[in-house]
Amino acid sequence: MSVTTSKGWNFYDTLETVAAWVLALLWISPLLYAFWAAFHSGEYAIHFDIFAPLTLENFREALSQAPFLRYGLNTFILVTMLLSAQLVVGTLAAYAFARYRFFGSNVAFALVLMQLMITPEILIVENYGTLASLNLVDTIVGIGLPYMASAFGIFLLRQAFKSTPKELEEAARLEGCGMFGILMKVYVPLARPTYLAFGLVSISHHWNNFLWPLIITNSVETRPLTVGLGIFASPESGIDWSIISAATLLSVAPLLIAFLLFQRQFVQSFMYAGIK
């Protein structure tokens, strides 16, 4: 009995490998299809032919019909500015929560965590009003502002700072470091894995964010890639499918390439960020 089931386990191992591959091919096929369409002329989008000539015409067409390079620059500025602000604001707040038992700190921490549930995209209506009164509608700063204090970042960094040994802080204090010296020389360097994880999660989230940027932007100079792509490809635009594929690939290329190069770091960051 036990011998046959043991054999069964081996047989199923092979079966599982086959299943894993079939599922993987199925999973990647929509993307491969988009690649196929983007690099071939329109008539091959429907008629599959392995010898069809490759072309970059769709990319040229997409770039001439909409300013994707400008959109890309806007996204890049947005993501960089936002991450820098999140790191500064988050580091300071996390340091306060991790090392200062100040008046009201528990209540304040609970109020910070509220943002994990009530993310800015839920409050689009009121936040639009706020940004209008600050005269920040249709600016890149306006896209980023509601996200600059990230509860998620504060939470992750607080965990990291809390696990830093107190003795290191004492040592730095004896050497004459002040509050900021200790933060910069002891806490921040030791929390590097957390910074990396949060950074990758933040970049991919805001590279892909759509709803809020759509609402708050209305010009080429501010629109990020996702919004540009959304407008470009809306059903009423009636643009050729191959060109839309090319535009889609252009928009996701930087992040996708970064992901393929640093796959392990990306996956581990998502894992780490989710579990903490």
Binding site: L23, I118, S234, M271
Partner: protein
């Protein structure tokens, strides 16, 4: 000396927190409260300024068939995406959590949709679902099945969107199961094997219970996502046909930015906030007590 040092601790703590506090109050707490207040006021026009109307907005919401429709759609969207995504995510994690040829490619294939923006995903799938010229209709025409307008038919639009969302999300949930599986001691598997337990029995009685905290965590995240994720509607359907694919957050967007009724949008937002608050309570009482990762 001591009292002043003590005081400095409070001052330093609050100074460090100030930038975050200002931003959070301005963009999370203030708008939350403002939403509730706005939901109690009428829509202002040039002739008639906004005035306090009590629960009148809630009454008209209660009488609004579209509101019930989007809520119902949200429920079906959640029921359609979440269990399927979780089953697929567990399967994927089990499949790649062992030595096999091409494992890193297989993992990458599962995870890649996660890294794409929903807008791009919608663009790709839009073509699959196009009537007649779309990929699905092309393939079904080989078998003599005539074309179907998948996104234009109220009966098939929501299932079509659900399938696309499952494709996008399953790989994301997989990584949490992979992380959990790495903490399962290999001896358990060995023991089950020696005891002659079937693989299904081992999964049902050993692995699945061990993965329960992960499942709860993923479940909460998936429910939250099902309320927050509406990007694809902008490209695929705009909520149509006849609101058959409309979701609560998209309806909020429409009310505020297409019909310019911010007070009604605020009323709808209060419902969304209430749903999120319930989720937060569930998470607090169910989840936090049961997760012991490290």
């Amino acid at each position: 000396m001591h009292p002043s040092r003590n005081l400095m601790r409070h001052v330093h703590g609050w100074l460090l927190l100030t930038p975050a506090a200002i931003l959070l109050v301005a963009f999370t707490h203030y708008p939350t409260i403002k939403t509730i207040i706005d939901s109690l006021f009428s829509k202002g026009t040039v002739i008639r300024p906004s005035r306090f109307v009590g629960l009148a907005n809630y009454e008209s919401m209660y009488a609004d068939p579209i509101f019930w429709k989007v809520l119902y759609n949200n429920l079906w969207f959640a029921l359609g995406t979440i269990p399927t995504s979780i089953i697929l995510a567990i399967s994927m994690a089990l499949l790649v959590n062992r030595a096999m040829p091409g494992r890193s490619f297989v993992r990458m294939a599962y995870f890649t949709p996660t890294i794409l923006p929903m807008i791009a995903v919608a663009n790709i799938w839009l073509f699959f679902y196009s009537p007649d010229i779309g990929l699905i209709d092309q393939i079904s025409s080989w078998f003599g099945i005539s074309g179907h307008n998948w996104l234009g038919d109220p009966k098939t639009v929501l299932p079509a969107i659900i399938i696309m969302t499952v494709w996008k999300e399953a790989g994301f949930f997989m990584i949490f199961y992979l992380a959990a599986l790495q903490h399962v001691p290999p001896e358990l598997r060995e023991a089950a094997r020696l005891e002659g337990a079937s693989r299904w029995y081992f999964f049902r009685r050993v692995l699945f219970p061990l993965l329960m905290p992960t499942t709860l965590f993923v479940l909460i995240n998936a429910v939250l996502n099902s309320f927050k994720l509406v990007d694809h509607l902008f490209v695929l359907t705009k909520g149509g046909p006849d609101n058959a694919s409309n979701l609560l957050l998209y309806y909020i967007f429409e009310s505020a930015f297409s019909y310019f009724d911010t007070n009604y949008a605020a009323t709808l937002t209060v419902v969304l906030l209430a749903l999120l608050a319930i989720m937060a309570l569930v998470q607090f009482f169910l989840l936090d007590r049961r997760i012991h990762y490290r």
